[in-house]
């Protein structure tokens, strides 16, 4: 299956970006083959408003079934939830470690945002 992970870089050794909406990159990772599709998120990094909503829409359009990130706010969570994308918050380490944790069932999925909205 395909999952989305927020990343500071473009490969498996990159660190997970704790931010969701304004993460540098979103990596769409195939959990079996570890094949990566890199999404440059620079447009949303500099978004005027609604970066989380926009990034969530992009993740959903790519067909990811789960998202691993550090912090996810209420608007992003609402969007991901509507899209049926499960949200794993508080994920740290590098991308490879995050995928392994996911495959081993060690990522817990939340039913709410884990940070407040901001303006």
């Amino acid at each position: 299956m395909k999952i989305a992970i927020t990343s500071k870089g473009t490969d498996l050794d990159s660190e997970v970006d704790p931010r969701f909406g304004r993460a540098a990159y979103i990596l769409i990772v195939d959990t079996t083959s570890l094949a990566i599709e890199v999404l440059d998120n620079s447009e949303n990094v500099n978004a005027f408003k609604g970066a989380g909503i926009q990034t969530a829409t992009m993740v959903s359009n790519k067909g990811a079934e789960a998202l691993l990130t550090g912090f996810c706010g209420p608007n992003a969570f609402k969007t991901l939830n509507a899209a049926g994308v499960k949200v794993g918050n508080d994920v740290t380490g590098n991308i490879r470690e995050a995928v392994n944790a996911f495959n081993e069932g060690k990522v817990s999925f939340s039913d709410a945002a884990n940070v407040d909205g901001h303006w």
């Binding site: 609402k78 969007t79 509507a82 303006w119």
Partner: protein, 282 residues
Amino acid sequence: MIISIASGKGGTGKTTIATNLAISLESDIQILDCDVEEPNVHLFIKPKIDKTETAYTPIPEIDEEKCTFCKKCAEICRFKAIAVISKTVLTFPELCHSCGGCMAVCPEDAITETNRELGVVEEGRSGKIKFVHGLLRIGEAMSPPLIKKVKNYIKPDIINIIDAPPGTSCPVIAAMNNTDFVLMVTEPTPFGLHDLILGVEAVKLLNIPCGLVINRSDIGNKDVYDYAEKEELPILLEIPFDRKIAEAYSRGKMIVDEMPEWKEKFIGLYNNIENLVKKGKN
């Protein structure tokens, strides 16, 4: 006549100037407190409120029966207040700026208007002074639409004094826009000057004539005066750092009531503004 009183930096004395100016003039006058996040003119004017109006802003409501999920509404929204996720349309009312763009582009007429409550506008009177202010709903982040509702109460044939919020962002622009004169209240400190410059730059973009009041004029340094000279900004009033003024303020009293000699100075301030506005129109 519509005069807006702004500052850049907060706490320079906007409300002190607005209220003392209003109370000093004999003419028919109205004071509008547009600092809707934290209005305080009423603490000094002590008006009797006789009308309260709840203010709303239009936001979109989607009819998913009619919607074909074409995403045109989501694409036009600069604030990402609409997201289309497969066969679901999500709206984020708190992000909506009520531009109506989504309704205009929807090919299916699937979007109608509903309302988000912004807060209330209260209207009243204190003696001869007419009074209006806005109170932003707790939790509401967007004050400009409420400020515009307060400004709907402007009466063009009398003197209107607008107490603007501090800063230079959208709420301040909403308060200053379409006024005849901006009176910038500052203090001669590095912080005062820094924020004054930002404020003056904003006023220039709006192309409104502007003058200064220097409060606590005997503290700090001369940099604000040098800046005013360089920018050809008239200094219309200077108020010294006087314990009696601070004490009056701390008790919710007016300078002109405690120290009647100030009344003439505030009348002079208005006359100066009136002359500058007339000159600008010629």
